[in-house]
Point group: C2
Chain length 227, copies 2
């Protein structure tokens, strides 16, 4: 796989997968064999002109196992229901990594995967984040409840304010695609639905902005009790 972008390559070098070769306009790279290349060469190699002067050949992305994530002590998971936009998936993964989430769970179908565009959009965060694919998201949420997690879906119409629940212990936060929200079977598998206040004429946040606000509420509650 050819990934591209300065942060994406930097974090791949710090992460788990093998970096076989780097092509770069400038030579300040180490950790793998480096070939000097022109910007046009790099564009041709990675198929994007957003490469910032560097691309690298790396092993396939290794997904985590969803059951193993549920087996962790008090996991904090983020599940995305049919989020297909690579920018949004990358942005959510970056915030999840920074916020210390245990992992991100995606359905196998009708979802963005961890492509090079997602690596770039996540600023390389996917290299340090456990991301699992599941066949059926509603089934996964039921497994999560059996594993004593509480499952909270984000829903603009929900009556529960997002700051009301107790997010300590095992938690799965579920977010839907923009404009569509959660599918009925996914919604039904949630323990509760939570909403963010809105005060503008535009009535919906971008999924990555909503995810950031919710993840930091969860992180903050967990930090407050651990001190």
């Amino acid at each position: 796989v050819i990934i591209y972008g300065r942060n994406a390559v930097t974090e791949a070098l710090r992460g788990q997968r093998r970096v076989r070769r780097i092509w770069a306009v400038k030579g300040d790279w180490s950790g793998a064999p480096v070939t000097q290349a022109s910007p046009a060469d790099i564009t041709a190699r990675c198929g994007s002109d957003a490469h910032q002067g560097v691309c690298a050949d790396v092993e396939e992305y290794r997904y985590a196992n969803a059951a193993e994530l549920l087996a962790r002590s008090e996991p904090f998971l983020v599940a995305l229901d049919e989020v297909t936009d690579p920018q949004n998936l990358g942005a959510v993964c970056r915030t999840a990594e920074v916020a210390g989430a245990t992992g991100v769970v995606l359905p196998e179908r009708r979802s963005a995967e961890v492509t090079p565009a997602v690596c770039k959009a996540s600023a390389g965060a996917v290299e340090h984040l456990a991301i699992a694919q599941v066949r059926n998201l509603a089934d996964f949420l039921r497994d999560a409840k059996q594993a004593e997690c509480w499952v909270y879906g984000a829903d603009a119409a929900a009556r529960t304010p997002y700051r009301s629940p107790d997010y300590r212990g095992g938690v799965v936060l579920v977010l839907g695609a923009e404009g569509k929200g959660l599918r009925p079977r996914v919604r039904d598998a949630c323990d509760d639905l939570v909403s963010l206040p809105v005060r503008g004429r535009i009535d919906s946040l971008n999924v990555s902005a909503a995810a950031a606000v919710l993840m930091y509420e969860i992180l903050q509650q967990r930090l407050d009790t651990s001190t």
Copy 2:
């Protein structure tokens, strides 16, 4: 100006500036004269292929006056220091509009402006949001303090946790460009600097994610006291 994208055109029609003409692949538009056009025609007209089948000729974007924003009762303003990426500016504007911010303040130079790409990235939120340009951001922050606003800068190294301040009353939240943070003169003009907790190997949030978390903390505090 030719703006593009479904939300951008929809919100322009609901907003203040005149929409002179719409070019669309499908005919379900009203509020301005509509010309049917092919996707290639629309791409040629707006200069982007991210148009989702519609573009429109609209009046120039009308910026708000920064002094007027400060004259409002207890304004909630977001100031961006040298944020040059249109995606980030658009994303921050969208969240600011949804969170009910009074407005966004940008320096005239070394900052993204409200271009069609920003309209698109904001999902049209810029049409309903007051956005002001100022010659010098540090001077503006001093004016804000004279107008009895409290000025909080986001700084990853700050000792004050972002939830500690009292964000009621007039507030200006200042965010810097990714990777660079706030310039010294802008930082010095802040009453306090606040930080978000980080727990990952990647140590910084995207500016629009950080902005979302901070704006919702501010909104939440203001909602809690208004009830």
